[in-house]
Symmetry: C2
Subunit: 188 residues, 2 copies
Amino acid sequence: MSLRHAILTLLERAPGSGYDLVQRFKAGIGHFWNASHQQVYQELAKLHGEGLVEFELERQEERPDRKVYRLTAAGLAALKTWFAQPVKPPKVNDALLVKVFGGHLVPPAELRAELEQHAALHRERLAEYRVLEQQFLTAPAAEQARFRLPYLTLRRGLLYEEDWLRWLDEARAVIGADADPTAPVTDN
Amino acid sequence: MSLRHAILTLLERAPGSGYDLVQRFKAGIGHFWNASHQQVYQELAKLHGEGLVEFELERQEERPDRKVYRLTAAGLAALKTWFAQPVKPPKVNDALLVKVFGGHLVPPAELRAELEQHAALHRERLAEYRVLEQQFLTAPAAEQARFRLPYLTLRRGLLYEEDWLRWLDEARAVIGADADPTAPVTDN
DNA sequence: TTTCGCATGTAATGAGTTACATGATTTT
DNA sequence: AAAATCATGTAACTCATTACATGCGAAA
C-alpha cells in the first residue's frame, strides 16, 4: 500500500508524467524505492479514478502526448494522512545471502566470482551517489536548504553501498581462504 | 522465484517441518530472508507436488502431527542448478525513506519520533545478532568450521544494523537541527 | 481466564514481474 | 541496420499480506 504514496510524494515535489516518474524512480530515488513503468501507469490510473491526482494533456508534435499529473487537494490530504501513520522497516529477501548460506554447494571460485560481480555493482552505484553528493555539496546554500531532506536519503544510499563493500571484503577473506581453489568441492 | 530455493537451502542443511522452517526464517536467517507460514506451507505443498521434497509424518500425542520434510535427489539437483545461476541484488522499497524525502509535510517532532522508534528496533536487532556472534566466537573450532558460511551472513546482518544506526545519527542531527521544535510546520 | 506455543492449512486481496503491444526520432 | 529514447498502455502470472479457520496444552 505504499507505491501510491511514493508516487504522491514525488508529485508533491513536482508534477510529472508517468514516464517522468519512472525516470525519477530509476535515477533519483532508486536506492530506496523502485517501480516499473507498468506499476506506475496502473497506479496513476487508479489514483486518478479516486480523485487523488489530476492531469493535463500536453500535446507534442512528433512525440507521443504526455499526461502531466499533479496532486489534487484530496491527494495531498491522503498523503498527509499516510505520513502520520508509522511505517515498518522493509522486508529483506536477498538471494545472494541464501547462496552464501548454502555456499558449500557451490565451487568456491564460482561463489567468489559472483561476490566480485556484486562488488563491482556496488562500487558503480557508490560512484554515482558520490557524484550526486558533490553536486549537492557545491550547490548554493538556497539549493542546499531545498534539498536537505532528499540529501539525507542520498546519504542513506551512500552508507548502504559502502557497507555492502565492507562486508564483501570480509566475505572475500573468508571464502578466498578456502582450501585449494583448483580442487572440486561438491560431488556434483 | 527464490522462496523455494531458500526453503530447499534450509532443508539441505537439516530436515524440518513447515513450522520449523518458519522458526528458522524468523530467528535464524530473518536478516536476509523472510517468509510467513502461509507462504511456507503453500510452497512446501508445491515442492512436494513437483517431487523436490518428501516428508515423513511424525505422529505426536497431545500435539498436532508434524510433517518432517527433506530434500529428494531431484530437489538437491534443482537447488544446485539454481546456485549456478547469478542472482540480482534485491529491490529495495523503504517507506521510511519516502517519509524522510517528503519530510517537510510532517511536523519535525513526529518525524524525529519515528526515526527514534526505528533506531530502537535496529539497536534491538543488533543486540540479538551480537549474542549470536558471541555464541559463534566462543564455540569449539569444529563448530566454527561448520558454521563458517552462516556466520558470514550473520556478519552481514550486524553490519547492516550498525550502518542503519550510523545513518539514523546523521538524520537526527539534520532533522533535530530543524528550527523551533514547538512550532507547527504544516498547515494541516 | 486469557495469552502463548505448537502445528497445520485455505481464501481473498494486493503488489510486483514478465511478456505483449505500438510507433516515431535519434544515436551508434 | 540495429539499438536506445520518448511515451503510453494491457494481460497473464507469480509472489506476498491479511484475514479466516481449528484445537490442545501450558504458562501468566
